[in-house]
Amino acid sequence: MLELSPPLVLLSGPTGFGEYLKLVDPKYVGGVILKTVTLHPKKGNPTPRMADGDFYVINRIGLENPGIHAFIRQIPQLSIPTIASLGGDSFEEYLEVSRIFKEVSERFCGVEYNFSCPNVKEGGLSIVEDTNRWKNLLNEIRTILPNTFLIAKVGIEGVFVEKAAKIVVDSGWNGITLVNTVRGLHFERGHMILGGLSGPLLKPIALRAVYEVRKMYPDLFIIASGGVYSVKDAEEFLNVGANVVGVGSALFKNPEIVEEIGRYLLEVKG
């Protein structure tokens, strides 16, 4: 099991490759999940890439990243436990990126696979649709990385979270991150932005997902992701069974939120 103290992580994306740690005192954060890295570099989508509504943030970054080779050359040296995030445009890319990652896997306390990015044309969300092929993929990744703490990040689209969780557990993976952003549409001064929705509106959806999966699997490691903006939000996720609470969009609002949640969790959870 992965023990993070406090049980609070900065989620993949908003945290970048650790840049966000400039804004929070690391002693209040249990771990960091880095931005998703793919086999080839991605330059991401044209702007606008993000907007905020009253109760949500919407983004269409498009997985901008330097690619696995450049990433490996400059792995960020952070002072707290670090989880890498890997993604791909196809089954083959997920496998290839895993093989390359293997040589540095020991430098991370785990790796989260992004099976749920709504902002890329191939891979991302659609990878889970064919559940048989996805299951094979998880098995193959497990074979490539037999000793790594493997976490699957899934959303609520493409496949029911209950079904996804069963596949994750049956494939011998260690954990699951629930949920990723949900596809949304926002009008910004008359212009449509199609992207992934995060922030407060996502919280009840993420809470339900954690609740359902915890009911099925009392021992599965669960990272909660969706709309955590306060100590109360974090408590609710722990109440429904999350092992670790993640903050993403809240980082754009106020870094003090993170410290406040972290301080609280350190006191009550250690």
């Binding site: 994306g13 908003p14 945290t15 970048g16 490759f17 840049e19 966000y20 400039k22 804004l23 931005k35 330059k43 991401g44 044209p46 702007t47 606008p48 890439r49 993000m50 907007a51 905020d52 509504g53 009253d54 109760f55 949500y56 943030v57 983004n59 970054i61 901008e64 922030g199 407060p200 969009s249 980082l251 754009f252 609002k253 106020n254 870094p255 003090e256």
Partner: protein, 217 residues
């Protein structure tokens, strides 16, 4: 970079929709740098730093709930910064700006001797000691008859940038870009700009870019 809480001293209206907010505190910054400020909205917003009447100040164009709150409602503002890179060039330069950049202009004028041209869509309500042109046509006339400078820095709307590029390309011209920003510190990748040298980020590589580095379409 630091995290801070600023206290508003006053707001001054400078044209139809733009205000200057003066703060009681000081921050150490270089001309061109910006801060991210928190409002009731879910994401902090970038504001270029400057001075007004010798006080730390920003200019705010009221566009929605967050900016209205900044101008009208709050006294305390949380934020982080200064962010981005300062801008410093030798020789005689000119700042070509919209009214939202008047505070930034004062930050430059404190350090270097520059000329200033302000282009505003609506009349400017405060007395200014430099050239102000009101309306698109006047602005065009002025831009096409500018004398030679060693460098030009343009900071305004996208349409102002385009007009300036059309008339000034080939010269040493720079643009202070505005993009939606999530973090201001290079983490979220929301502020990308596709340049001739690959993807750059306004918050960490900018906010000021050379005109000939940008892709103009």
């Amino acid at each position: 970079m630091e995290k801070f809480c600023l206290t508003k001293k006053k707001s001054i209206r400078i044209n139809e929709d733009t205000w200057i907010i003066i703060f009681e505190e000081y921050l150490d910054f270089l001309p061109g740098q910006f801060v991210m400020l928190e409002t009731p909205k879910l994401v902090r917003k970038p504001f270029v730093l400057g001075y007004w009447e010798d006080n730390l100040a920003i200019s705010v164009q009221v566009k929605g709930k967050g900016t209205k709150w900044l101008v009208e409602e709050t006294r305390k503002v949380k934020g982080h910064g200064p962010l981005g890179n300062g801008f410093k060039k030798d020789g005689k330069g000119i700042l070509i700006v919209s009214p939202t950049c008047l505070t930034m202009v004062n930050a430059f004028r404190k350090k270097v001797n520059v000329d200033v041209l302000v282009g505003s869509k609506t009349p400017v309500l405060v007395p200014l000691e430099f050239d102000v042109v009101v309306g698109n046509e006047e602005f065009l006339n002025k831009i096409s008859t500018l004398p030679e400078y060693d460098w030009y820095l343009v900071s305004g709307s996208k349409s102002m940038e385009k007009v300036c590029w059309n008339h000034l390309r080939g010269k040493n011209v720079y643009f202070s870009l505005e993009e939606y920003m999530g973090c201001g510190i290079g983490a979220c990748k929301s502020c990308a700009v596709f340049t001739k040298n690959g993807v750059k980020h306004v918050c960490t590589d900018g906010p000021i870019f050379r005109g000939d580095e940008l892709c103009w379409s």
